[in-house]
Symmetry: C2
Subunit: 241 residues, 2 copies
């Protein structure tokens, strides 16, 4: 499948493809890239899982709804992230809604049938996919741990640190076009606690101006956050987010 050159460049720089050459080689030719507007619904909870999704650019919110009407945000995905792993399994459904949070969000979709066939034929590829799934479990477990070991300001700091690695590429300004109540819910805090946490990070050289967050001194932020995490900064060397 022929790709638009800009999308092709974004696709090849995606962490999934950069860190797992076996995945890149096998799957990249089958990826279909698409541009979404803000608030577009990408997939619905319960839909048959027909594609694995890669975020090339922009932001996507993954949410689940309880029967009594509460919504929880189970993921905030940005460039380098993967969602829709249910597509790896036959007869599986997506376990969440996915909706874009920013205009010009670029995603790549890999058809479930293609990926399942390639996995069954290619042991190296299936090993890489297992590593990806395991990284997702570790990440969710780490987030659970942080709910009890970290303060709200530390949880916000950890979220920013991770973005510095995936998004900043040497820059010190992160764009987070995510409304405050959504980011707060994702981090397991109230919007007013998020505001207080931003204030607490100021002395560490973190400045917030609208959707732009400037990180002056990544080392200070790391000292503040990673001492209360059992991974203690080793997440920075993780293969896949």
């Amino acid at each position: 499948m022929k790709q638009d050159p800009i999308h092709s460049q974004l696709l090849n720089s995606h962490t999934l493809f950069q860190n797992h050459p076996a995945i890149s080689q096998a799957l990249a030719p089958h990826a279909q890239t698409k541009v979404y507007e803000k608030d577009d619904v990408v997939l619905r909870h319960g839909d048959a899982a027909t594609s694995l999704w890669l975020v090339l650019n922009g932001w996507v919110k993954l949410t689940r709804q309880t029967p009594d009407g509460k919504e929880s945000i189970v993921g905030l995905c940005t460039e380098g992230d993967v969602f829709g792993e249910a597509a790896l399994f036959s007869h599986a459904n997506y376990p969440y809604h996915a909706q874009t949070l920013s205009a010009q969000t670029k995603l790549a979709a890999i058809p479930a049938g293609v990926i399942r066939k390639l996995i069954s034929e290619n042991a190296t590829l299936s090993g890489s996919i297992m590593a990806l799934l395991n990284a997702h479990t570790s990440q969710a477990q780490l987030k659970l741990e942080q709910m009890s070991t970290m303060s709200a300001a530390q949880r916000l700091g950890c979220f920013l640190l991770r973005l510095c690695h995936t998004q900043a590429n040497g820059k010190k300004t992160l764009q987070i076009p995510v409304e405050k109540h959504i980011l707060a819910a994702y981090l397991g805090m109230k919007p007013e606690t998020l505001s207080r946490s931003q204030q607490q990070l100021k002395p560490l050289g973190i400045a917030v101006a609208g959707h732009d967050i400037t990180v002056d001194t990544i080392e200070k932020l790391r000292d503040f956050v990673c001492n209360s995490c059992s991974e203690s900064g080793s997440c920075e060397t993780e293969a896949v987010d």
Copy 2:
């Protein structure tokens, strides 16, 4: 490898083997069963991951420690559970400590080398292992969701409901030989909140006497819990815990 007949029966009735015939057939002959005393250390955080572990009987606590000395309980495993998935990946270390909580805890260990070799040769087996890893991710994500959508009493109720499926097998009395402060920490609450939650579950027919918990009416408990969960009871049909 010849197994003690009682251990062999426990091994074959483990959910991992019952629900995944491909895993059972390939791995059971290589499983080494072992009996532990209370408070035995099974593996240490950071050790090279040399085995995948199955709980046949008893209770195991998985913990992580932060550099500033906080401990978090990332898992409470009992019969039917699996831990140590790091063994699926080469050069991986265990991401937590594992320690038994009860006397006569029976575990089975499958050597990492054996399992990795079999996975690389057997596409059906690797598909089943991927499903297992994905189930673990879903479980961790669901636990995160519940921290924001459920009350403390509902979270305790959900924990008991899951045990009713894996442990009770028709019986209505669950044995949970886990100290109150450990169970409370695992469920993300204070010990006094756990006591209050037990009181709140009384009208639903849940009676606590020491380490024995009697569940009179599972339907009432389900109504109380599952309405605040996006899985809404479908976890009961999940293949692997």
